[in-house]
């Protein structure tokens, strides 16, 4: 056979950064209370940095107990005087308006999300922001149809909801929390995560522009103590929390004996199960998407990969091949697949797990790519032949680290998949429909994806079993968490 007669230079993509010129970020952000931005009473501000280069983007107000109290009072006043008085259809109009404004400003939101949180612009542009708008659109439609969501029951709002959200999907989580609460007639006080407050504050500006009545949405920024003040405030009717299982347990303890309602969406250690008859190349894509989406900062990440032993080497080779085509770097570059780790603290956590896994003697594979000098980065990593008792198979890492386990029979993999305190999500890959139904009905997880992974839609309820929390977000089930029902 003839030999290749040309010797082409390697074809690599040139930088393609999204321009951030038109993005408006103020130097300093105050608290959003009663429809206005107010300086924090403690006069304290903390910096928010870009995890890709460690540069300070802005300074964010730190809310103390007094500020939180003001915010709850503003929410209560708005609930009593305006939001519970206007017609449901009128509430819907505001939600539609917010949804449309998010779409109009999608590009700016996407860029800020990537700057503040380190996620690749491809994801903030194509996933976070469109889904945030979709949640407002979806819930806007429910406002005047609540009787149809809960037939033969009297539907009433709860009152004031305190909502605490994580740093992995900042605007999207704000939308998941605010949209159903408002649709059901509640007012809210939202606390974003301290490393990623910016898009929530941009959302506050957008809410002002939408003309939402003052106090219906209040945003208080700060770290743990701010969140605690919100949870412990006596005039809050409901707490919705998304974050770590440890903090979730603390919140539940603190609410015990109060009349406050609670929903928790906590950690996960999802099993992504590849059966021998799966379409392997597409399953590999699902594995990649399951664990490396948003640098693995996803509570439903497919962090435990279960591969049937007969195809283990085939999957291993294809997975490593695919990992080598991932592009790590500047989150604002349109070609980036893997952005920066959200914070220095999170990077340390991830690195400590990698060190533990190495100490256990596990075989590690890491993509051999260059890593920028500044900022927080972690190469896509996998560990093979992981036992059920290994620390990286048991604990949530919340980073781009995959534990590969093998199994022989379906009963075995179901036992292993369920052998965890978590139960948020799972994935099943098989070409055989009956197997999908068998596994999905026996896996103890709130969300089970079949032949796909990490698919989100506002119509679909999301939430966990066991220590992954309770209550659902999205769909009618999500609305249920924000209403009082009377037969």
């Amino acid at each position: 056979m003839a030999k290749a007669n040309t010797n082409n230079k390697e074809w690599n993509l040139a930088p393609a950064p999204e321009s951030a010129d038109h993005v408006q970020v103020k130097e300093k952000y105050d608290l959003f209370i009663g429809g206005k931005f107010r300086a924090p009473s403690g006069k304290k501000y903390f910096p928010t940095i870009n995890p890709a280069n460690e540069e300070v983007i802005a300074h964010i107000a730190e809310a103390n107990e007094r500020d939180v109290d003001m915010a709850v009072k503003a929410a209560r006043k708005a609930y009593r005087e305006v939001w519970s008085k206007i017609s449901a259809a009128e509430r819907g109009k505001y939600l539609f308006r917010i949804a449309r404004l998010i779409q109009e400003r999608a590009r700016e939101f996407a860029i800020i999300e990537s700057m503040d949180g380190g996620k690749a612009i491809r994801e903030s542009r194509d996933v976070d922001i469109p889904l945030a708008a979709a949640h407002f659109f979806y819930h806007a439609g429910w406002t005047d149809k609540l009787q149809y969501a809960f037939p033969h029951q009297k539907v009433e709002p709860l009152g004031v909801a305190g909502q605490i959200i994580p740093w992995n999907f900042p605007l999207l989580m704000a939308a998941w929390k605010i949209a159903p609460a408002l649709a059901a007639g509640n007012t809210v006080v939202l606390k974003p995560a301290e490393t990623t407050s910016l898009t929530a504050l941009k959302l506050a500006e957008l809410i002002q522009d939408a003309g939402l009545p003052n106090g219906v949405v209040n945003i208080v920024t700060g770290a743990g103590p701010t969140g605690r003040a919100l949870v412990e405030h006596p005039d809050v009717d409901k707490i919705a929390f998304t974050g770590s299982t440890d903090v979730g347990k603390m919140i539940q303890r603190s609410l015990a004996g109060t009349r406050k309602k609670l929903t928790l969406e906590l950690g996960g250690k999802a099993a992504n199960i590849i059966l021998e008859d799966a379409t392997i190349d597409q399953a590999v894509e699902g594995i990649i998407n399951g664990i490396f989406f948003n640098q693995g900062h996803v509570c439903c990440a497919g962090s435990r990969l279960f591969v049937q032993e007969s195809i283990a080497s085939e999957v291993d080779r294809r997975l490593k091949h695919r990992m080598n085509s991932l592009i790590l770097g500047d989150p604002l570059d349109k070609n980036t697949d893997i952005g920066a780790i959200n914070s220095k603290g999170q990077l340390a956590t991830i690195e400590s797990y990698i060190a533990k896994a190495k100490k256990e003697g596990l075989e590690m594979f890491q993509v051999d790519c260059a890593v920028p000098r500044k900022g927080f980065w972690c190469r896509p990593t996998l560990f093979s032949d992981v036992a059920q008792s290994s620390v990286i198979a048991r604990e949530e890492i919340f980073g781009p680290v995959l534990a590969i386990q093998t199994f022989r029979t379906i009963d075995e993999v179901i036992d292993k998949a369920n052998n965890t305190p978590y139960g948020l999500s799972a994935g099943v890959w098989t070409d055989k429909g009956s197997r999908i139904f068998n596994l999905t009905s026996r896996l103890r997880a709130g969300v089970v994806w079949a032949n796909t992974y990490n698919k989100f839609d506002p119509t679909s309820p999301f939430g966990g079993y066991k220590e992954s929390g309770f209550g659902r977000e999205g769909g009618v089930h999500g609305l249920r968490a924000y209403v009082k029902l009377d037969a």
């Binding site: 040309t6 074809w11 993509l13 040139a14 392997i280 597409q282 091949h321 349109k334 070609n335 032949n451």
Partner: protein, 297 residues
């Protein structure tokens, strides 16, 4: 033999999602210029019409060697692709240029004839000097489930090719499902194909990204199993530069850099070249030139 070739399912939704990811790559500046030139060098400039004449073929051959003389340093296309009776004309016109001559054969495009006629067709092309033969598989037999026939026919044509490289056209628009595209690809490779090719260009849909990705994944399976590289040629329907660059991204990310070479990847196209040229000129001058500035041979 054909019984030992595994039938492996392909998930169409998964394939389509992967293709969307390729399309999201942003190809700018130097990478764009390099990609456009690479695509040019991979073209099988094609004329396969009832009204083809020696004159038409000679003119196309000139274009193959002189893509756009106003732009110095351009590569030639990889090959021209013609009917067997024009191989001699093309061979003569391209002499010394390095541009190869590919000939369709085996009762192209339908493949509805006897094996004897197909082999004669192939030998005629090879004896006239064809460097490559583009054969069609028997889709009718495939749909009858007579995979052994399809396999044996490819193996026989391969033998008749001698030193010429064999491209096996699956006519994926007539196989329809990706499961069948994958299985036919496996049969073709097992039977001796040097290249697998999507389409004749006479049936719609011709080449699509999902079909091409399915075939590339079969090539990758074969490479992982044997270490042997197989070439890929999508043909028909790739008429603009942007799409061609998406295909190159797909090749790079599914198979790797070593396939980004005209020896392993081709575009079967007639009008793609001019759009690539137009984009190259735009990259150089900053302005689009109108179509009349690019020759239409």
């Amino acid at each position: 033999m054909v019984q030992s070739i595994p039938r492996k399912a392909v998930d169409q939704t998964g394939i389509e999602e992967r293709c969307d990811r390729f399309k999201k790559r942003s190809i700018k500046k130097d990478a764009k210029v390099q990609g456009l030139q690479l695509a040019l060098s991979m073209i099988d400039l094609t004329t396969l019409e009832g009204k083809d004449t020696p004159g038409k073929v000679r003119q196309m051959c000139y274009k193959a060697m002189h893509l756009h003389d106003a732009y110095p340093g351009l590569p030639t296309v990889a090959a021209v692709c013609v009917y067997p009776n024009f191989v001699e004309t093309a061979k003569k016109a391209l002499k010394g240029s390095g541009v190869l001559v590919a000939s369709v054969a085996t009762a192209f495009p339908s493949g509805q004839s006897s094996l004897q006629v197909k082999l004669d067709d192939t030998r005629m092309a090879v004896e006239a000097g064809a460097d490559e033969v583009d054969m069609v598989i028997s889709r009718g037999k495939y749909h009858c489930g007579d995979f052994g026939f399809v396999y044996d026919e490819i193996a026989a044509v391969k033998e008749a090719c001698g030193k010429a490289r064999l491209k096996v056209i699956l006519e994926t628009g007539e196989l329809v499902t990706l499961d069948d595209v994958a299985y036919a690809s496996r049969i073709a490779i097992a039977a001796g194909a040097d290249f697998i090719k999507t389409s004749t260009g006479k049936v719609q849909p011709a080449a699509t990204m999902p079909v091409t990705l399915t075939m590339l994944e079969v090539i990758r399976d074969h490479y992982f199993a044997t270490g042997q590289m197989i070439g890929m040629k999508p043909a028909g329907g790739i008429s603009n530069a942007k799409l061609a660059l998406h295909y190159l991204i797909m090749v790079k990310e599914s198979l790797g850099q070593q396939w980004l070479d005209k020896h392993w990847f081709r575009f079967g196209a007639s009008s793609l070249a001019n759009d690539l040229l137009k984009q190259l000129v735009k990259q150089k001058t900053g302005a689009y030139q109108s179509s009349p500035y690019f020759a239409i041979d």
